[in-house]
């Protein structure tokens, strides 16, 4: 019975995170139907997705409870690699406008 009670507690403990994640998802859908430019909408939606992702990693995946060393090993390296992928954008916009490479 003690085990059963503890499991109920863990569900109750993470319910606020659960509802915040659902709220973020609902807010994303609401904002998608507002009249933002594609660039602005992308920035807003990705910002919200990063917030949701951070909550999931820190609380559902318990990274907040692990050693700081694990966090510092995994997260900055991942963010660095993902940021480095942003170098492709200038080329994709060049393709759209069919501009030649720098003269």
């Amino acid at each position: 019975m003690a085990a059963s009670g503890a499991s109920k507690n863990v569900i109750a403990k993470y319910l606020p995170v659960y509802f915040v994640l659902l709220g973020i998802a609902a807010l994303e859908v609401f904002l998608a139907y507002q009249h933002f430019s594609t660039g602005s909408l992308l920035a807003i939606l990705l910002g919200l997705a990063v917030c949701g992702g951070a909550l999931a990693v820190m609380y559902f995946m318990h990274l907040a409870q692990e050693s700081r060393g694990l966090f510092l090993t995994l997260i900055p390296a991942t963010i660095f690699v993902l940021l480095m992928m942003n170098m492709i954008w200038s080329d994709s916009f060049r393709l759209l406008h069919m501009r030649p490479f720098a003269r």
């Binding site: 994640l21 995946m61 050693s67 992928m85 994709s92």
Partner: protein, 209 residues
């Protein structure tokens, strides 16, 4: 102490050295897999963004009903399955096998519902004429990117469902431990996390107005 003794003792010391992050090797391995998988999905989503930005006629086919409504239900189902997985991990750590099994099978059921809704979404688009390299609306690459990204995610969900079933059986029989359930939980939450990025980038940026 001779050089040989130093070497032997040094080697033995290395063998008993604890984890640098104070977590079991299984869990660390799962974290490393998750990071590599996150970068894989990141590359796919960036590739998708590259093609979308470079196309002047990218289709925006997703109407509120059925697509966006379907996606909202799928999101609720997947986030709820993360909650049941948290219950499973907690119950497993407490050694409550029946409760762990109930939570794990709830997660499996929600995963199957998610996969079913996903396949329904695919069938709807296929009925509208979307194929890997053609569609009725615009850039032919839409289908290739859409099916690649959502297909890889669906593959993760499907393999996760199978893996949870195996873990559930093994834990009930006593051949697997709470550590296995915890590692499985990490994977499942990661599948949930990826969906949080797939929805805005693949669906919400392409709604039909």
């Amino acid at each position: 102490m001779s050089n040989t003794e130093v070497a032997v003792h040094g080697h033995a010391g290395a063998l008993v050295e604890g984890s640098p992050y104070a977590i079991p090797s299984r869990k660390l391995t799962m974290w490393l897999f998750i990071i590599s998988d996150a970068i894989t999905f990141g590359a796919l989503l960036f590739g998708y963004g590259y093609l979308r930005a470079a196309s002047s006629d990218w289709p925006t086919p997703f109407k509120f009903t059925p697509s966006i409504l379907n996606v909202m239900i799928m999101t609720v189902v997947l986030i709820t399955s993360s909650l049941t997985m948290l219950g499973a991990v907690d119950s497993a750590k407490l050694g409550d096998k029946p409760k762990t099994a109930r939570f794990l099978w709830s997660t499996i059921l929600l995963g199957v519902v998610f996969a079913g809704l996903h396949i329904r979404e695919w069938i709807g688009l296929i009925d509208e004429g979307v194929r890997l390299f053609q569609n009725p609306w615009g850039s032919p690459l839409f289908g290739a990117t859409f099916f690649s990204i959502t297909g890889l995610h669906l593959l993760h969900v499907t393999s996760g469902v199978v893996a949870i079933a195996v873990i559930s059986r093994g834990f009930a029989r006593g051949s697997l431990t709470a550590g296995h359930v915890e590692s499985m939980g990490l994977y499942w939450h990661f599948v949930d996390l990826v969906w949080m990025f797939v929805v805005p980038v693949v669906y919400l940026l392409n709604i039909s107005r």
